[in-house]
């Protein structure tokens, strides 16, 4: 049996109570309607963009939270894998899809560059990794928010980076540009913009799921099938989403 519980003791506030701003989806209530449903690929792209920004921010830290970085990188790989299956992945020549393992698309190395570089525990074994060392030294330092105009080319290992720059590359450029043009303190600012807009994404995503399933390619099954049925709260506002994408990729 679960006992009945009562407050036994409440130690004093350990700090000055500070009102925390609520961040809930209040604004969702007013908007309704089921008009245009944004395409699955657009949302997938948004998710990818969001993940890439997160990765980029991880990358700016000297010592990122490794667990979080790895999980985000795996998510990016998964999206890219699905995109390349759908043939949407412009960054890669079709014939190279089979040849190149998925993890070449985004390398976790970019997340852990500094950690690995400063690894002090096994200096000898580290030195033996000569191919690694060289690849690491090629990696750009994006942490300092200036200079370095082409970090992407080495962030994304591709056969022909110059020729095969697809839309994603461009969007990445935009992201980096935005990040570079702002100093580090305004990165948060940048994100607060993204924040509110992205907040609608899962209602959009979940609503979309059931709406456009039939029109989607085979990659879709791997997307959430557990999405609840579209409810009245489900707001699929294409304009909103456009705005989201606009922030990251100036459409």
């Amino acid at each position: 049996m679960l006992a009945k519980w009562c407050l036994s003791w409440f130690p004093q506030d350990r700090m000055f109570a500070r009102g925390l701003k609520r961040k809930c989806g209040d604004q969702e209530e007013g908007v309704e309607g089921f008009g245009t449903v944004p395409s699955y690929s657009l949302q997938r792209q948004s998710l990818l963009d969001m993940s890439l920004v997160k990765l980029q921010l991880c990358h700016m830290l000297v010592e990122p939270n490794l667990c979080r970085s790895v999980l985000i990188a795996n998510t990016v790989r998964q999206i890219q894998e699905e995109m390349s299956q759908d043939g949407v992945w412009h960054g890669m020549a079709p014939q190279s899809v089979e040849r190149a393992p998925i993890d070449r698309l985004v390398s976790t190395e970019i997340l852990c560059r500094t950690v690995r570089g400063s690894e002090g525990e096994h200096p000898t074994s580290e030195l033996e990794d000569s191919p690694l060392q060289s690849s690491a030294s090629e990696l750009p330092i994006v942490g300092s928010a200036q200079g370095q105009r082409n970090p992407q080319s080495s962030l994304w290992e591709m056969d022909n980076p110059q020729e095969n720059r697809g839309s994603l590359q461009k969007s990445l450029d935009q992201i980096f540009e935005t990040l570079e043009n702002k100093n580090s303190s305004s990165v948060e600012e940048l994100f607060s913009d993204v924040d509110s807009s992205y907040y609608d994404l899962d209602t959009v995503l979940t609503g979309m799921m059931t709406g456009t399933k039939s029109s989607l390619c085979n990659g879709l099954e791997s997307f959430t099938a557990a999405a609840p049925p579209p409810s009245s709260t489900c707001k699929s506002d294409l304009a909103e989403l456009d705005h989201v994408v606009e922030i990251l990729v100036e459409t």
């Binding site: 679960l2 407050l7 130690p11 506030d13 961040k23 000297v62 998510t75 990794d129 924040d195 994404l201």
Partner: protein, 443 residues
Amino acid sequence: MEEDIDTRKINNSFLRDHSYATEADIISTVEFNHTGELLATGDKGGRVVIFQREQESKNQVHRRGEYNVYSTFQSHEPEFDYLKSLEIEEKINKIRWLPQQNAAYFLLSTNDKTVKLWKVSERDKRPEGYNLKDEEGRLRDPATITTLRVPVLRPMDLMVEATPRRVFANAHTYHINSISVNSDYETYMSADDLRINLWNFEITNQSFNIVDIKPANMEELTEVITAAEFHPHHCNTFVYSSSKGTIRLCDMRASALCDRHTKFFEEPEDPSNRSFFSEIISSISDVKFSHSGRYIMTRDYLTAKVWDLNMENRPVETYQVHDYLRSKLCSLYENDCIFDKFECVWNGSDSVIMTGSYNNFFRMFDRNTKRDVTLEASRENSKPRAILKPRKVCVGGKRRKDEISVDSLDFSKKILHTAWHPSENIIAVAATNNLYIFQDKVN
């Protein structure tokens, strides 16, 4: 009220500037000692606050769950790593008590990089009447010493001292997420994202690396260690969990480096629930052996699972902690809540498990009756001695009175850390900067 004043004094002495203090006061770990007499909390400011249970008196049965501040000390200070040019936070990631062996108490506390062994002891007498030094401790001029005195111990006000006894540093390149005292009481382990080290309490300058999952090529890194714990009775056995939702049980007798597990616990993925967030939400944030040692409990983002050590292919029990968030995963990913590391605990008899959620809610699951309850840690909604009202989150459809809709949950109020008294129904719940202690209602 006396205690209140007392602690405020203590806390004030630690306050630096206002904004820093608020962040620094966020509780980052809670842990009862083996008898339940003491409760330790660690916070982001690197402090450890130990509470001691109020002495029970017969005419005040209801006061049995009251704890007063016993000792407060600064366990870790912010440091700067000059080689990597990075700041090492003072935040206490974990506290673990050692079993009590004499009048003093010992505990381990860790931040991202360094584990410290602290001795907490009481002093109520002080020596007086030294021959060679005066009462302030200054050496006396030998010429003035004319008589020989016998020093005596004089009673004084009770003083609780915390002294660092060992510092176990420089063994972790990544962030320490777990420490666990072994049942041999001579060793403990510390786990970071990629490695687990085994230490002897007496030796601070070396440790044995017992798990290392760092790939030769970091580009191939797709999995990290998220938590680790020793078996409560078998000192050769430990488990560690990963970001891919798996648990490995290792036997240290098999080899010095446990790179091959003895058991591998993994639940096949439910294809109907697959999404881009599947891996993230299956990442295990905490792993705990039951007191009996027969079961392990894991917590992932949406569920708590109980595994039988004898069955590796699926958990014996799965509890939905807040399944209504499944439709919100995208915004939880966007605002990073999806990476929150919720912990989980067993009650003393292993019959109930408890874990936290958002909106200052925490959940309890009775393993026998399969009943569950959602409670809220809030001062407004819980008066002392009044029974906590179970809370309910409304999932779709019409919201009934007293129900909270998913959209109005406050994701900034999260209960990540809880602790259960080892033998009684007393729980400690850390809600951001507040510590709540609840007890079961007797009559």
